[in-house]
């Protein structure tokens, strides 16, 4: 059993242990897969949180979000490489300190990227009162620019993310737990709690909820809409940056298209949870992670998207507004 296999989310990493009763093996496989699913779901959750924040405030599907995750991973790569002494800087810090510095720096820089996109591409369109979907198309185009601009600037060779912390494997019963897995899951839960606190308890959060409630009356109440929107993008993109680092730590190969499909899927997860509600995004991400891992555990892996999305379609057909979504009432 190689180390890499152990960290991959695929259930092919089933642990071979000494032959004991079948029931135990089934249970252990189940628990091991559940742990992998929670890790995999954490990424979806973190990305879906960013989607849902922006959507909740602006009613804008920010399709560039998956690519902001990719940008976050690249920023983390360059920062950690610089701190590790790749670019002529002396290496003075140990790995854990590099990680501790990389995470906040990446989150700040990624949120700068997000705010820049909002300022340059979305805000002028919003000011002109363009149809909502034109902003969505602009977001799609921005995503393409980020991907291909990256390919153009940095070349097609994949980057290997440095190993910042030593992997420690704990053995709980017969289940292998790594510090990275626990870290990823804890981080996503923690960031959800922080976000939930910001949205429900602080003044900015109240303003964000207010804008999503009625965006015409809010400027009249003296709430600076643009500032709140910028703040939303800061939060969302910081989440994307965090997801980027964690993803790069877990699967340390970076390429320009890594954010695209995970971004689309996270969006689907956010909608299944009920888009616009951050609890929904959080739960939806984990649901998608668990479904994907359990499909792969039973069927050949090429059936993953087919079955996972059929289940999600079924959920949406039964509950059209998602798990936490409330149906809109509109006056005619």
């Amino acid at each position: 059993m190689t180390r890499e296999n152990l960290f991959s989310p695929s259930p092919s990493a089933r642990i071979t242990i000494k032959p004991i009763e079948l029931n135990d093996i089934v249970l252990e496989t189940f628990l091991q897969n559940l742990l992998n699913a929670l890790q995999w779901g954490s990424f979806y959750s973190l990305i879906a949180l960013g989607y849902t924040l922006v959507y909740g405030v602006l009613r804008l599907i920010n399709f560039a979000h998956g690519d902001i995750v990719m940008v976050g991973a690249y920023i983390a790569f360059y920062i950690s490489a610089a701190l590790l002494g790749k670019y002529g800087m002396p290496q003075v810090l140990p790995g854990w300190a590099v990680l501790a510095l990389t995470i906040p720096l990446t989150m700040v820089l990624t949120s700068l990227v997000g705010v820049t996109i909002e300022r340059v591409a979305y805000r002028p369109l919003r000011r002109k009162g363009a149809h909502r979907l034109y902003v969505v198309i602009t977001a799609l185009m921005t995503g393409l620019i980020l991907e291909n601009g990256n390919l153009l600037l940095l070349g097609a060779s994949r980057k290997k993310f440095p190993e910042l912390i030593d992997k420690v494997i704990y053995k709980v019963g017969a289940i292998y737990v790594t510090n990275l897995k626990v870290g990823v899951i804890l981080t996503s839960v923690l960031s959800f709690i922080v976000l939930h606190f910001i949205i429900t308890k602080t003044k900015v959060g109240m303003a964000m909820r207010a804008i999503s409630y009625d965006k015409f009356a809010i400027p009249l109440m003296g709430i600076p809409v643009d500032t709140v929107i910028v703040f939303t993008f800061v939060l969302g993109s910081a989440m994307a940056g965090l997801a980027g680092i964690l993803f790069a730590l877990s699967y340390p190969i970076l390429d320009p298209y890594m954010g695209m499909s995970i971004g689309w899927k996270a969006f689907i997860a956010a909608v299944v949870g009920g888009i616009g509600d951050i609890r929904g995004a959080f739960v939806g991400g984990f649901i998608l992670g668990i479904i994907e891992i359990s499909v792969v555990a039973v069927f050949p892996s090429s059936y993953r998207d087919l079955i996972a999305f059929s289940i999600l379609l079924l959920i949406l057909t039964i509950k059209p507004t998602g798990l936490f979504g409330v149906p809109h009432t509109t006056k005619i």
Binding site: Y55, I61, A121, P124, L125, K128, G129, A130, H131, L133, Y134, V136, I137, T138, L140, M141, T142, L144, I145, E147, N148, G149, L151, L152, M260, W264, F267, I268, V271, V272, I275, S302, Y303, R304, D305, L306, F309, S310, L312, L313, L316, T317, P320, T321, G322, T330, I332
Partner: protein, 337 residues
């Protein structure tokens, strides 16, 4: 004269195109670009029916293109050529030229039936939730194709060029130009006529306010069903034409990037404008080909250009208007209903 001007123009355009490709004045490359223009016109006008006229946000158009492409190429390869997957031809290959439109229409019907996959959920779900259903449908269709090994799976499916050769044995004319032209004109006419029918009025009503439309007695479910099926059926025809033009289909070429292209064409042209969709499909195809020498820079330049266009014309090129609305004096000279 007013009634005849559009048909006359079309016939002239058709004979010019056929003549140029028959006497090889334009080489195969230019011919392919023109074919892609026609295919993109079908794609964008059919998506425009749902996204522009009905005001839904369907992001998974490529899924239906894929169904049409696969069904029609499997049928045509199985019927008219000897292939490894399906053995000897079922019908004599001489019939290829006559059978081809039926094969295409079969592909269209198949993908119209697949359109039910999103039409039925659309009864209860709206805007962004429907967007997700279409994205999921696209993923489902692609992975379903990948998992059918008989038709090549992830390796793709080929052999459509032999169908074209079989047609050329019948008569030595540029068949694909003929079919693409015919079906493009047919698509535009179908959509135009559909939009000016009672159903079309219902579609407009749904775009403006679905609940109000329902209260006024519009059978929204039936109209949605029919509109989605027409849109996806026409997309299927575009897929069949695409498959036979390229001669090779691969599930990966119908992923969300292809859907994004279709979306871009619709919103670049202006929501709900047929003229806009046609115009933007032509412009977009030309842009893709003209910027080809830039290689990878192309894929940065095109989105950037589109963002800039969006900034200056946030409602698209035409913006829910037709040609006659922009140049009212032209209305005297043509009639296109």
């Amino acid at each position: 004269m007013k009634r005849l001007s559009v048909p006359i123009l079309l016939v002239i355009l058709f004979s010019i195109l056929m003549g140029l490709s028959y006497f090889e004045v334009i080489d195969l490359y230019v011919q392919t670009v023109i074919l892609f223009m026609g295919i993109n016109i079908i794609t964008s006008t059919s998506l425009n029916l749902v996204n522009g006229n009905m005001g839904e946000f369907s992001c998974g158009h490529a899924g239906f293109i894929a169904v049409g492409a696969y069904v029609s190429s499997i049928l045509s390869v199985a019927l008219f050529t000897k292939s490894r997957a399906f053995g000897p031809p079922i019908l004599p290959p001489e019939l290829a030229a006559y059978g081809f439109p039926f094969v295409l229409i079969c592909g269209g019907i198949a993908s119209a039936l697949t359109g039910l996959l999103i039409a039925i959920p659309s009864f209860r779900t709206r805007d962004d939730y429907l967007a997700i259903i279409t994205i999921a449908a696209n993923y489902i269709i692609i992975t379903a194709i990948i998992n059918i090994d008989k038709i090549g799976g992830a390796r793709g499916f080929m052999g459509m060029k032999r169908v074209i050769f079989a047609m050329e044995e019948c008569a030595e004319i540029p068949w694909m130009v003929l079919w693409v032209f015919l079906f493009t004109v047919l698509t535009v006419i179908i959509i135009r006529r559909y939009m000016s029918s009672t159903y079309g009025k219902g579609v407009e009503a749904i775009r403006q306010d679905e609940i109000a439309a329902e209260i006024m007695g519009v059978n929204t479910n039936r109209i949605k069903l029919v509109t989605f099926m027409i849109s996806s059926g026409l997309a299927g025809i575009a897929g069949g034409l695409y498959a036979h033009t390229v001669g090779y289909v691969n599930p990966k070429s119908f992923d969300l990037l292809k859907s994004t292209e279709a979306l871009v064409m619709v919103y670049l042209g202006g929501m709900g404008s047929i003229t806009g969709s046609v115009l933007s499909a032509v412009i977009f195809t030309l842009m893709l080909e003209l910027l080809r020498p830039l290689q990878i820079i192309k894929w940065v330049a095109i989105p950037l250009l589109l963002i800039i266009i969006m900034q200056f014309r946030p409602e698209g090129i035409m913006g829910h208007r037709e040609l006659g609305d922009i140049f009212p004096k032209l209305k005297k000279f043509y009639k296109f209903k």
